[in-house]
Every structure is written in C-alpha cells, then in structure tokens.
Amino acid sequence: MSRPSISTQAIEAAAPDQESLKAAGKLLSASKWPERLVSPDGAFIWGACQGSGANPYRVAVDLSDLGAKCSCPSRKFPCKHALALMIQWSGSQADFAEAPVADWITEWLGRRRKSDASAASTVGKSLAAAQAPEVEKPVDPKDEAKKEAARQKRAEATTQSVSAGLTELETWILDQLRTGLGETLADVTTRCRRIAARLVDAKAAALAARIDMIPARVLGLPQKDRSEALSAELGKLVILSRAWNGGNCAAEVRRDIIAAEPREALLVDETAPRHSGVWEIIATREETRRDGLIARSTWLLGLDPAGPRFALLQDFFPAATGRQGSAFALGEQFEGELVFYPARHPMRAHIADRRPVGVQAAWPEGVAHALSSYARQIAEQPWLQDLPVLLPAGQLAMAGEALWWQGHSGEALPLIADRVSAIVRGTNLLACVVLWNAFSADLLAANTDLGLYHAAG
C-alpha cells in the first residue's frame, strides 16, 4: 500500500515558528527515537522521543491533516517532537516499523478535532535553514578558563549557602523538639513551609521540596502514628544534613539536597551502574508540589528470574501546563538498558535504550523476609524514605477499618486502604509490590490469581 508522504512545505506550514523547526532539527538522531511506528494503512505515525526527562515523550501525527499529539509540556502546537517525527517520515519512511494503532492514539482520536490546515502559512519558516549546520565559534582558551573559574566560584558559593541553610534547618528542628512535636503537628504545614522557603533561598531546592511534602506524608497517617512519623521525618533530615556536613559529601547526598545531575551528564558518567533486561511499568504516582511543579514517579520492576530489581524514573513538569499523558501504560513491558544514578543502592534511573519485548515476561517470586532487605538499604542510606518491596504470596485482611497484607509465613503490613481497589481485596496475591516507609505500605501492583493488578496513580 502506498503511504502518504509529507512535503517540506507542509511541515513548514504546520510549524508554529522557525525556532520550533530549528529545535526539531536537533531531534533527528535515531538514538533519540527508541520507537518509530506507522499504522498498517499509513494514516498515522507515532513514536517515543527521549527528551531531557526520565520518561520519553509519546508523539503521534495524523498524516491526513498533520494533526499532532505529544505528551511533552510544550505550549507550541505542533511541538518540536511532532515536527521531528514529520521530518523523519518525509526523509525515510523505511525507518518506521509497521504496528497496530496504539490504544492511546485511539483514545486521542476520540477527543480530537480536525485541524484547519488551510490557515497555515510557510512565511518566515524554512526547514532547510533549520537543518543547516550551525557554524561553531572557535574556542577561546581564555574564555573557557574564565567560564570554568566562574563555574567553580558558583559551586563554592552554592556549597557555602547550602551548609548555612542546613545549620539553620538543624536549629529549626531543635526548636520543634523543645517546643514539643505535639505543637508542631498542630501547625505542621505552616512551619514546614517556612523552613522550606529558607532552604530554597539557600539553594537546597530538593531538600526544600522534601520538607514541603512532610505535612502530607504525616497527616495522611492514622492519628496514633503521626507524632512518631514526624519525629522520624525530622531525624532523617538530621542524618541527611550530617551526611552533607560530614565532609565526605557523595553525589547521592547532593542529589537529595540540591538537585539531580541532568540526563546528559548521567549518560556519560562511567561510574553510573547499568542494568539490562525486561522491565515492567508497575506504577505511576504524581504529586503536585508547592513550587508549582508536578513530580511524576514511574516505578519499574526488573523481571529478572534471579530476583527483583526496581527503578524509579522521576520527571517534573509545571502544573500550569495541565495534565500530561504518561509515556507508558501500566503493565507495559520493554527490554532495554537503564542507567542508574550512582548510589549505594541505585534506584533512580534513566532509560538508555529500549526495544519492544517479544514475549511478556513473568514476575519474579516475592522475597521472604522482605523487610530485612528494606532494613539493609536503610542502614546504608539512612535518609531514604519510601522504598519498593516485593512481598511474597499472601492475602488481604481487614482489622476494623484498617487493611493489612498478610503473608502466608506470618508477616503482615498495614496498607493505605483507600489506595487498594475493592476487587483486588478478594484475590489471592502470588506476589505484590508495595512502597514501604516503616509506617504504612502503598500497594503499587500485584500478581494475583486473576492476573496482574496495577493500582491507579
């Protein structure tokens, strides 16, 4: 079947401006596109484009009118990812593998309205100019030296500023202990907000975001657990602060206090651990932070028969841009290599490459004495909070209004009841993944006698 092609003029007309075309021109490398697909009738092309975030963006183009859909937060329409997909299609259709139309495209089709292509114009937009190689300026060693000196100066200033901020944090924690954690609990939101704002000023943005989430984490627990949970949260802040001030400041500590290294830096880091295999998307969680960002956590389970391995893809996008579609469907599996941020127990990662998986892989068996493995990780990185745990076979049971996971070997964990759908409570659990924080478990996914269950985010 002959497939529709796209002319250069059509792409230029569809582009919102020349800058978008230029940005799209930088996204044409095949390595940025782990997936490029076309529907059997040639009506749609779609793919996954690896941007700066941990999750790739999902992009689709309707070839009949160049209507596009992308999961990136860009306000431009079509965005640079959709334009890049069009440019690749116009250049080489052979790079696109044929595949049945994905479910998310069908859902998009149900909502979309056809675009009016007649209003588009090519004036001021040139694909050739956008793809022209940029003339590189000769590197001036003096300029480079100046830049490096400035960068070091900035880094030192940041270190000093963070150290001062952490000293202030410890003083604040002491104040809470002396005035009473009962009083802190009554006013926890305002108090945390105040110290978090000071830490933002001190350039400890990641730590500030963590403190901002303390009220939600503590107040979400039963009344009887709140004071203990609050003291645990504060105790962990002390540990993190001491890890920074201890002089042996590892990258993992900087990451949890200031910010994570960008994806590009991680990919070239030779010390970063890499793990290949089949991965399943087991859960996504989104939290709207007080700084206006939505933090999306995508949890992956490595389906290695030798034992479970978890990975966390972390993305942030402005809440103002509205809800962004997730790049993956829950339960989706792929084969690929993940690059982990170096840490004693690597968890946060980026996808280095991925391929579709041929045959769906089975879950590994649950781990007996799973909390001992959790304790080992906490012993080595004591500032950590929630960690995923693969629990062995068990069932769910009620104790009054409280919901518990009960292992066949006698272990038990309290679950966050409102996160567990009624129907899964009646199944036999062959294994399940929970996020455990020593107080309550958030059930993410389960392998049940009715098949795989994934809790909604």
Partner: protein, 471 residues
Amino acid sequence: MPPVEDARFTEAITRLEAARRRWLTGGDADVSVGALAAGTEGGEGQLRLLAEAAQLRQIALRPVAPTQMTRVAPIPTLDLPLLDQALRPMFRRVIAASNERAHAQAVIGLMANRGVMAHPFDWVPPKDGAGFPEVYWPLADWVAGQEPIVQSALTAASWEDFSPNARRKALVELRSSDPDAARALLETFAATLAAEERLGLVETLLTGLNPADQPYLESLLTDRSGKVKTAARRLLGRLGVLAADDDARELAAFFETRKALLSRKVSIELRTKLNQVQINRISTLLESVTISQLAHALDTDEAGLVQQWSMKNDLMAELMLRALIAGASDYALRTYWERFKGEENTGMAMLFLIAPRLSIAEIQTEALVIIRKGRLDALPLLAGFIGHEIPQALADAILADPRVRDVFKVPDDDTKSHELTLARDTLRLLGPILRRETAIAVRDRLQGKVFHPADPALDPLHFNIALEGHA
C-alpha cells in the same frame, strides 16, 4: 510497641521511646539513652538522639498484625472464561462510553452470549445485579458484601444461607413449581427483612399469582412500608378483588364519561384542564388505586375502562399504561396496548414498559412496528428483552432507519461535527446488539470512509466482531 527484628535493638528502642515521649510535649530528652548521643551536650545530643531513633525504627521494628483480622471473602468462582487480555483495553473504552445502566447491560449481555465474562479488574456488576446475566450474580453478591452460597433448594431451614439475589431467584423458581410453598416462606420470613428486600420478594408473587394468595396480600395492606403496600394492592388488582375506596373515588372524580354526539361512542375524559398539582395527585393515586377499583368507581368494568380511556391526552394515556402494567389482567393490558401502540408518540421506551408481560416473539413483532415508525429511543434495552444479538429482521429495520442510514453518509470533516457526534452515539447503541455478521457489514461500510479504522467510534463494532468463536 511492635516486635523487634533483632533482639540487640530491644533495649535501645525501649529507651528511645522515652525520649520520643519527651519530645512530644517539648523539652530535652535524656541523651544517655542513645548510643551515639551519650556524652554529648545541648542541641547536638538531642539531634543525634533524634537521628538514632528515626533510623532504629525503620530498620528494627516490624509491624504487628492485629489479633482480630478477617480475610476479605475471596471473589466467587467465575463460571465463564475471562475476556481475552488483548481485548481488555477496548472493553474498557466501550464500557466507559456511557454511564447508562442499559449500555452496560447490552455490552455485558453480548459478552455472556459469546461465552466470556468481563475481567473483574475492569468491571464488576452493581450490587443488585438486576438486568445482568445470571453468571454475574455471585459477583454482585460479593460486591454487596454477601457470601454467595449456592443451595439446591430454598426451604425454611436454608433461608438464611441464601444471599438476597439468590433468594429472589430461588423464590421465583419455587413459585413456578409450588406457589403455596413459596408464599408460606414469605409469610414466615418477609416481615424480618428490610423494606427494599421485602418488596423484591413480595413482587415474586406475580409468578403463579392465584386466589390463594389473596389473604396474605390483604395482610400486606397494613405493611409498615408504603412500597410494599402498593405492591400488594397491585397484585390484588391483578386478582380483581379490591372494592372501590376513597382513593379510587377521588381519582374517578377527575374524569367523566362522555358520549360523542354523532358516533355515540363513549369515552372517559378529563373533566377539566389540570394544573401540575392535580397531575401529580392523579399520578400518585394511580400508583395505589387498582384498575378494577377505578373501573368500579367510574361505573364500568376493566374491559370498559381500557376501551373507553381517552388517548387525547398523551400523559394520561401513558399513566394509564403504567397503571395497567402494574396491576391489571393480561387481557386488559393487551387490549389497551393495541390502542396505545398506534399513537404517534409511542416509542421503544413504552414497549419496554410492557415487555415483561409479553413473550419474546411478541416483543420482536411490536419492536419492528415501532422501529418502522422511526422511534429508536431506548434501543439498548431491546437486547435485554429479546436476547443479545437481535434478529436480522430487526437489525435490517434499524439499519434502514433514515437516521441510522445517514451515519454511512457522514463525510469526515469538521463541518459535520454534529452529525459525527450523532453517528458515534448511534454506533454505541448498535455495537452491542448486532449479530457479528451484521456488525462486520456495518464496519466495512464505515471503516476507512467515514471513520479511520482506529477511531474509537468503531470500538463497539470492533469489540462485537472481536468476540469471535464463543457464540
């Protein structure tokens, strides 16, 4: 305190617990209890102790399960295979296309007809399960928190072992074979049940209704639930044994018998134009006054009433139909329906009101008449009454209807968005009720011309077609 993973930590945790209690009310805790804090002074000691307590809790404590825990009842055995994994995303889209119960009934009914069940992670039936295939009733009982226990026979001894859904079903079966035994069970147990369940069980007396039921039904006229009283009156109305009372006379006073000047034809008409309050009152009275009572109050009999009732006022004509369905003999109801169905406004929804009193063949015949009149409202309910893949003659009639036919002509452009919306609605109605071959024919006419093959408007058809091999 929860148990400790390692006995070495037991003492430390006990000591740190005292520090935590101190911090709760405010003040410095005793630093000597901490391994890292001991020997330090002031704030430094407090911070070390706090850090130590935080970490120890996470690595050493294990939750203790309450002694009184109840296992959530396991999901009952599902008697049909679950829908193929690959079809589950499409099913979720199809079932989510409408919140109407009739839509879910049509989709779920089609699946059961083809021998598969929805995956419980995607869909579960409502608590009452009414209108859904029987294969889902144990699951409905489970959703309602009832243990689905299957019993061979409903008796006084086994009464408590049956869930409400199973009990209702068993009572209907018992009424068919031994009406007296079923009534005796009701006489023994109905008064102990909540009003809603009691109502459902009293209504089962309709099966095999006979004069022997009269004393029990009359005893229900003083039931504490108004709905049960009304149900009893209706059943007594079917038996034609109630005399006119004050309500019947009040209702009759709204009407008068008129004789046409030339034809001398007698008709029962409203005396005056009614206001809304009067309409509401008539509607209320028709719920409790039986047809035979009203007929007596108007100095006629049941046959005379249904022959003479005026069709000039649409609302009154419909109210009479509803009253007849609720409590009149089959003869009276059918006589009235013959007059009523010829009216211009009689649509599918009206047919479905009377459908429980008709055979499947009669419903098909009546449906064809109404479809040919161009009345397609309430189409999804059709499958619920005549089976989930409607006969070809009905499908042809529906597909020949101008509005359905126009779906095939809709050009796929923005100027026709209203028509496209209508087309999507029509396909949602048709998808779950067509036979597979018909669904294929409709899809082939639409796919790639009006809609892209991946357009979700075609999902109901695709889903119908994909349920192959189970029919």
